[in-house]
């Protein structure tokens, strides 16, 4: 039987003037009913990650999040005669990705691919899925180019980009009267991008960029950097480092006795727990926090902990959310076709990510709008490493009754006027 996409259905309904109902909302309601009647049978979602080396921690949380999402999606889909199948592939590289994706989609149609991969592999996958007419949801890669010059219509970004993380931290620092920043960033792309975004943000908001130290990969000595930092009278030090560089810097910063507030962008909590960054201090920005309680975040955190005996972190959240988005798209559009899912996600359906706000994808670069969280590292070092972080800010603040939710959330990230993204035509 031929399936009718939601868009087609709405177009048909509009042309027929369904029951004289003028509003899109009313038409959508009819589409919802339609969805119940025509729900497809099996939603197949491929989850691609690289569970090796530095990426292993990230991948393991990403997989757990996707598993919980799939189990919950299967319950919901089951109520409408549909099943959700999650296919996990955790050895994905740019080299083996095309063959792997073709193999996965050969026996039966893949509804969507969830990418829990690094930036280069995600970029390759994004281009490939566009060519193969598959939908891709990026849950881990943060680079601006994926949402900019390398953007594609069939890719949607659940993971916040570095601009959003930087702006959230920036908003918090300005709220707390810290306008003079010095930056210590990795020579890797993400470090350079954070510095670029920070400087631009300060220019726009009337703050002062006091300069930047670029840390080379493998650098372990920070005496010169710290000596310079001691003389710049910064009100905050923006830190964009990862792995061993981050560990060395934090240890030597603590030993130096410097007291300027460290503002980390972003925090990978799984790294904190597994590597036990003893010297971690300051404030850090993240996309999810296991201590969130409001808006049913407590319930989601409980479900995750009950399932895996681990607290949820950012990548767990983005992957849980990605599966939920796909399942909702299929149920509400009554189609598993890529074009229908793209149209559904582009129609800005209000997504409930347990963040208390309606989350929608930006039309100009397919980035999911969402609030982020600023966490403070407790100095008293509690026994349980999970207790080392406490929530001190949700950015941007919730919209006032006179404000539009979308406009408030768009204060994080690149505005359409600055975006280099040019999505392919439909």
């Amino acid at each position: 039987m031929r399936r009718i996409s939601r868009r087609t259905f709405l177009r048909m309904a509009a042309s027929l003037g369904v029951a004289g109902v003028p509003s899109l909302a009313a038409l959508y309601a009819v589409a919802e009913t339609h969805a119940q009647a025509q729900a497809p049978r099996v939603v197949r979602i491929a989850h691609l990650s690289h569970r090796q080396g530095e990426d292993a921690r990230m991948a393991s949380y990403a997989i757990m999040g996707a598993q919980l999402g799939a189990e919950e999606a299967d319950i919901t889909a089951g109520m409408f005669g549909t099943k959700v199948e999650l296919i996990i592939e955790d050895g994905v590289t740019p080299a083996n990705m095309p063959a792997l994706v073709r193999k996965l989609s050969a026996p039966e149609h893949l509804t969507a691919i969830i990418a829990a991969l690094d930036d280069p592999t995600t970029a390759s996958l994004s281009a490939f899925t566009q060519q193969e007419r598959l939908v891709c949801l990026n849950t881990t890669a943060r680079g601006g180019d994926l949402r900019g010059e390398k953007c594609h219509r069939s890719t949607f970004h659940v993971e916040p980009d570095l601009a959003m993380y930087t702006h959230a931290m920036g908003q918090w620092l300005l709220q707390n009267n810290r306008k003079r920043w010095y930056s210590i960033v990795s020579e890797a792309g993400f470090g350079q991008e954070v510095y670029h975004r920070s400087r631009r943000f300060l220019q726009q908001q009337g703050g002062a960029d006091l300069g930047c130290s670029v840390i080379t990969l493998g650098q372990s000595a920070y005496q010169d950097v710290l000596a310079h930092l001691g003389g710049v009278e910064a009100e905050a030090v923006v830190v964009a480092l990862m792995g061993e560089e981050l560990r060395h810097f934090l240890e030597q910063y603590r030993a130096s006795g410097l007291k300027t507030l460290l503002a980390g962008i972003p925090l990978d909590m799984s790294a904190l727990w597994q590597a036990s960054l003893e010297s971690l201090q300051g404030v850090w920005v993240t996309s999810w926090y296991y201590g969130l309680e409001r808006f049913s975040a407590r319930e989601l955190n409980r479900r995750f902990y009950r399932r895996f005996e681990k607290p949820a972190e950012g990548f767990a959240w983005t992957n849980w959310a990605a599966v939920k988005l796909v399942m909702e798209g299929v149920l509400r559009s009554a189609s598993m076709e890529a074009s229908a899912l793209v149209s559904y996600l582009e129609s800005a359906p209000p997504f409930d990510g347990h963040k208390g706000r309606s989350l929608t994808f930006r039309g100009w670069n397919h980035q999911l709008r969402q609030p982020l969280y600023v966490l403070k590292v407790r100095e008293d070092k509690p026994e349980n490493p999970w207790d080392r972080l406490q929530l001190i800010g949700e950015l941007p603040p919730p919209a006032a009754p006179s404000q539009l939710v979308v406009e408030v959330l768009d204060t994080l990230g690149e505005p359409p006027t600055e975006s280099l993204c040019r999505l392919e035509a439909r």
Partner: protein, 339 residues
């Protein structure tokens, strides 16, 4: 020392007239006044408000719009319902995993019933014999027999179930699934799910029309109200409130079936919906974060619990204006109004 019977008889003779003259009339008068007070108290509708943070309920005299009593009930009271005869008030205690039972005459907690974890919302069958409670963690709705206090059934429903509403005819129970965006329609006799309906994002509560033919479901994140054709188990309209930026939560239909009132949370207002045309007629500014909403039984007044401003707004449903604002406890959540 034993009293001489004759002395006793004389004294008794003196006492009896005294009783007859003064004490008995006094008692009769006192009882009469008490009866009048009780009758008056009983006849005057009361609004009962759960205060989530102060762990009590505020009892509002609907004649004076003043708090007549504050009753401590237990930890984290939220959902609240009156028994059909008005003699018992049931209050969900989220942090105690129990439902408190309050005697509406003495205003004392007389019992606490085990309910499963973190009870938030529930409803009572029209005959007052069963309680239907959502169990958020277990994705089930429990059915409690109010005679035996036992859970007699546990029905699988959507993910993160919350709002529970029994249809006025007692035949159906609607349970919202906040994470699955569903309404599970339970047959009240067979205690099985008859249908699952996909509604707006994060459905919180539902309200039936008095004839049980339509239901209105609020969706907090979707910013919508779904209108359901109850016999057909189908969404027939979806109203977007304030461009989707409101957060609809509490919902109630007027006894004449003409209007629906929706408490819009973060928008700090109440939307009035035409139940026939499914259009928003107006929005009424109230206190901060209106959450629970209930109507008087004549439908003339709506009481709205404002969670952030710690007060209750009283709306005249004819003029659609707020006519009173009553300070209550901390973080008022749910409301029940007696006959």
């Amino acid at each position: 020392m034993a009293m001489n019977p004759q002395v006793f008889a004389r004294k008794r003779l003196r006492v009896v007239p005294l009783l007859r003259s003064y004490v008995v009339p006094s008692i009769i008068m006192t009882l009469a006044f008490a009866n009048i007070w009780v009758a008056s108290a009983a006849s005057q509708p009361k609004a009962y408000i759960t205060n989530e943070k102060s762990n009590d309920i505020s009892v509002i005299d609907t004649a004076t719009y003043k708090v007549a009593a504050t009753v401590p009930v237990g930890e984290r009271p939220r959902g609240i319902r009156l028994s059909p005869d008005g003699k018992r008030l049931y209050v969900a205690l989220g942090d105690e995993d129990r439902i408190a039972v309050v005697d509406t005459t003495s205003l004392q907690v007389i019992e606490k019933i085990s309910s499963g974890s973190d009870p938030e919302s529930f409803d009572i069958s029209p005959d007052g014999t069963r309680l239907f409670v959502s169990n958020e963690d277990a994705n089930t709705a429990s059915v409690i027999d109010l005679q035996t206090r036992q859970i007699v059934a546990s029905v699988p429903v959507g993910i993160e179930p919350e709002g529970v509403t029994v249809s006025p005819d007692g035949r159906l129970i609607y349970v919202t699934g906040e994470t699955s965006h569903t309404i599970s329609v339970i047959d009240a006799d067979g205690l099985k799910v008859l249908a699952t309906i996909l509604v707006g994002s994060r459905p919180r509560e539902s309200a039936f029309s008095p004839n049980s033919q339509k239901a209105f479901v609020t969706a907090e994140i979707g910013g919508t109200v779904s209108v359901i054709d109850v016999p057909g188990h189908k969404v027939i309209a979806t109203l977007t409130i304030e461009g989707g930026d409101s957060k609809p939560k509490g919902v109630v239909a007027t006894p004449d079936g003409k209007k629906v009132f929706v408490a819009n949370g973060a928008s700090h207002n109440v939307a009035v919906i035409d139940a026939q045309s499914h259009e928003v007629i107006t929005t009424i500014p109230v206190g901060q974060r209106p959450w629970g909403i209930a109507l008087t039984h004549d439908g003339k007044k709506a009481y709205v619990a404002n969670g952030v401003s710690n007060d209750v707004s009283v709306i005249d449903t004819a003029t659609q204006k707020v006519i009173a604002s009553i300070p209550v406890g901390k973080m008022p959540w749910g409301i029940a109004v007696s006959r």
